[in-house]
Amino acid sequence: MAQNHTIGGHGSHGGHGEHHGSLGEYVIGFILSIVLTVIPILAVVDDWFGKTATIAVLLITAALQFAVQLLFFMHLREEKGPRYNLVTLILGLIVVVVVVYGSIWIMDHNKMY
């Protein structure tokens, strides 16, 4: 709440040297995101599974990718003070559900094609 002097671009890291993940965590996160990117690409390009299974794999890897980003790079677990992260996350999830489920629902009922 207090006016912290976060002017100058990299201010949000300034002043309160809090824990922001170790090199190891970043490397693990990096490798996990690469793996989670390669799997769906190969699943589609090399046609590993049938149509339904491929869609399921895409959705699952996307969800895992989301979790990896939040945990390893966005430091979701390290919050002090007001719970902005949690509120943001809930809002984000609501929007994602609306966008993804809403689209599936709408397109499923679409009789025009």
Binding site: T6, Y84, V99, S103, H109, K111
Partner: protein, 662 residues
């Protein structure tokens, strides 16, 4: 000899393809652009202002200057979008008019829509964010000043890229949302759609970053004591708008990226024959497009709230319900997008869900109207220009809201869909809600930006001409829409019986154009003749931005204000009037400030280059652009010399010059 001739022929062929040709209107525009550019270069050189321009404006990270640049750019775009509108109205004034060819008409209505929403409303809104929000919060700048400057330049060069299309390559003509298959290569083989995609992509990145920037600013940079229940209402509206921005704009980016892949790499996201589905594009684009409507109108609601409270000399009625209404609108905006394509054929259940969610979102909006009315009730109202725009907004928005509810009734929408009734409705909410609000905000904060008020008399003339023009223009469109006239037609016959309504509508359109000219005159006249405002508080306003001199000094607040009330500055004035001691101010300390940087400007030129190269499929232009972006990112990452301190003596001198003892 023959070789030479063929080279010349090749150049001629290239030029006639590269430059838009064959239309006298376009040649006129070419001449106008060349003359304006020459005039600007001449004036800057003659007065030796290039260095000043570079140091004070192009590289600035000061939120107030960024805001002013946004506003200037937005007003220029308002002019261009307005000229587009008048060209359309001229074409429709009589049946069988031969003013614009059908292709040209398509281009004009497409660019009118894109420019008014993305390159006029958005930057005008961001300009007002930049001017008012840090000052209302008692902050020295936004959270990320460098990013703020980058946002502006990305918007600016995105807009330039888009605008270029009408003299180079050809304008997009697929409607302002570029539905496939019209926007696919089969429907639009030219470069117009690519200009559309890249103009919006580049400026869209800027919009997203502004959204993030202002959320962080509002969450982290509030003055000490400014709890959430003391945050000024405009700042609340900005927060709710920015929440919508950060969720909506990624959807737009992805949608347009997919469309670009379709066009550039032959992907089939939206082409039926390749297994794609054009309906998915409609679904995705409205997932951005509907929240976008609320993104631009929420800050206008905030402005109305500030203006009503200030000029009624009363506290805003129902502050809590106002905040709740705005936040719930910004969330609910995500549940209504399908009402834009009720007729797409998704069935009754889907339509029912979105019809009801659309009707529900009208409730918080209605609450706000009552709050404004109750704020005025028994207030001491002064009829200044910002207040007049606010008063005009209320009936206008009520009518627009009610026709919106009519459109939200799905079965009725099958009748209204794509008719002029719809056109009249959304212009009523976008002009009556958004444009009126931004005008009110512009007049309201003008003294804070420049240190003088705009001329009220000319402003009132502009106000009345605009308003009369508005109703004359759009009321007939409801009628002619119910009579069966559809949107996007460039001509109609005498037998339709539509000409009287269209004729009236065109008169109204030109009246609004004259109203705009009055506003231009008002600004020019005021720059020349208006007296300087020495109080810093010419309206007798309520929030922190009015507690400092006008125009605000570089560092905004000499000492960080300590907030104890909702309308803190008003309460402070009341205390002083009651003979009590003013709040004690902390001792002056050196002020930490961000340094200017050329990187946002340079990087945005690189983005422009990338966009231009990809539009024409010229990788030899696009790749250096990408390299430039990477280099500027690197250069900024390793630049540690980003800030400095303003010494106490200098603060004291600046304040003394503004007539303030410290």
């Amino acid at each position: 000899m023959r070789g030479e001739a063929s080279v010349i022929d090749q150049i001629k062929d290239f030029a006639s393809w590269f430059f838009v040709s064959g239309d006298p209107l376009i040649y006129g525009a070419d001449v106008a652009i060349a003359l304006t550019t020459a005039a600007i270069i001449f004036v800057l050189s003659y007065f030796g202002k290039w260095g000043w321009l570079w140091r004070e404006w192009l590289t600035t990270v000061d939120h107030k200057r960024v805001g002013i640049m946004y506003i200037i750019a937005a007003l220029l775009m308002l002019f261009r979008g307005g000229v587009d509108a008048l060209m359309m109205r001229t074409q429709l004034v009589f049946p069988d008019m031969k003013f614009l060819s059908p292709e040209h008409y398509n281009e004009v209505f497409t660019t009118h829509g894109v420019i008014m929403i993305l390159f006029m409303a958005m930057p005008l809104m961001f300009g007002l964010f930049n001017i008012a929000v840090p000052l209302q919060l008692g902050a020295r700048d936004v959270a990320f000043p460098f990013l703020n400057s980058l946002s502006f330049w990305l918007f600016f060069f995105g807009a330039m890229l888009f605008n270029m299309s009408f003299v180079i390559g050809g304008s997009p003509n697929g409607g302002w949302l570029s539905y496939p298959p019209l926007s696919e290569l089969t429907g639009s083989p030219g470069v117009g759609e690519d200009f559309y995609i890249w103009g919006i992509q580049v400026s869209g990145i800027g919009s997203l970053m502004t959204g993030i920037n202002f959320i962080v600013t509002i969450v982290k940079m509030r003055a000490p004591g400014m709890t959430w229940s003391r945050v000024p209402i405009f700042t609340w509206s900005v927060l709710s708008s920015c929440i919508a921005i950060i969720v909506a704009f990624p959807v737009l980016t992805v949608t347009l990226a997919l469309l670009f892949l379709d066009r550039f790499l032959g992907a089939h996201f939206f082409t039926m024959d390749g297994g794609g589905n054009a309906m998915m594009y409609v679904n995705l684009i409205w997932m951005w497009g509907h929240p976008e409507v609320y993104i631009v109108v929420l800050p206008a609601f905030g402005i109305y709230s500030e203006v009503v409270a200030t000029f009624s000399k009363k506290r805003l009625f129902g502050y809590g319900s106002m905040v709740f209404a705005m936040l719930s609108i910004s969330i609910m905006a995500y549940f209504t997008w399908l009402h834009h394509f009720f007729t797409m054929g998704s069935g009754a259940n889907v339509n029912i869900f979105f019809a009801i969610s659309t009707m529900i979102i009208a409730i918080p909006t209605g609450v706000k109207i009552f709050n404004w009315l109750f704020t005025m009730f028994r207030g001491r109202i002064s009829f200044t220009t910002p207040m007049m725009w606010t008063l005009a907004f209320i009936p206008c928005f009520v009518v627009g809201g009610m026709t919106g509810v009519m459109l939200s009734v799905a079965p009725a929408d099958f009748q209204f869909h794509n008719s002029y009734f719809l056109i009249a409705h959304f212009h009523q909410v976008l002009i009556g809600g958004v444009a009126f609000g931004y005008f009110a905000g512009l007049y309201y904060w003008w003294p804070k930006m420049f240190g003088f008020k705009l001329n009220e008399t000319i402003g009132k003339w502009a106000f009345w001409i605009w308003n009369i023009g508005f109703y004359v223009c759009f009321m007939p469109q409801y009628v002619v829409g119910l009579d069966g006239m559809t949107r996007r037609i460039n001509s109609y016959g005498w037998d339709t019986g539509w000409w009287a309504m269209n004729f009236t509508s065109t008169i109204g359109g030109f009246l609004m154009g004259i109203g705009f000219l009055f506003q231009v005159w008002q600004i020019a006249h005021s720059i020349k003749f208006m007296e300087k405002d020495t109080t810093g508080d010419p309206w007798g306003a309520r929030t922190l931005e009015w507690s400092i001199p006008s125009p605000a000094p570089l560092y905004n607040f000499a000492t960080t204000p300590l907030v104890t009330d909702r309308d803190d500055w008003w309460e402070e004035k009341e205390r002083i009037a009651a003979g009590k001691m003013p709040k004690e101010k902390p001792k002056l300390e050196p002020i930490h400030m961000p340094k200017n940087s050329p990187i946002p400007f340079i990087q945005s030129i690189c983005w422009f280059t990338v966009g231009f190269g990809l539009v024409f499929h010229w990788l030899w232009i696009a790749i250096p652009g990408f390299v430039g972006i990477a280099l500027t990112l690197l250069a900024h990452s390793f630049n540690y010399d980003t800030d400095y301190y303003i010494p106490v003596d200098e603060i004291r001198q600046t304040e003394a010059k503004a007539g303030r003892g410290v």
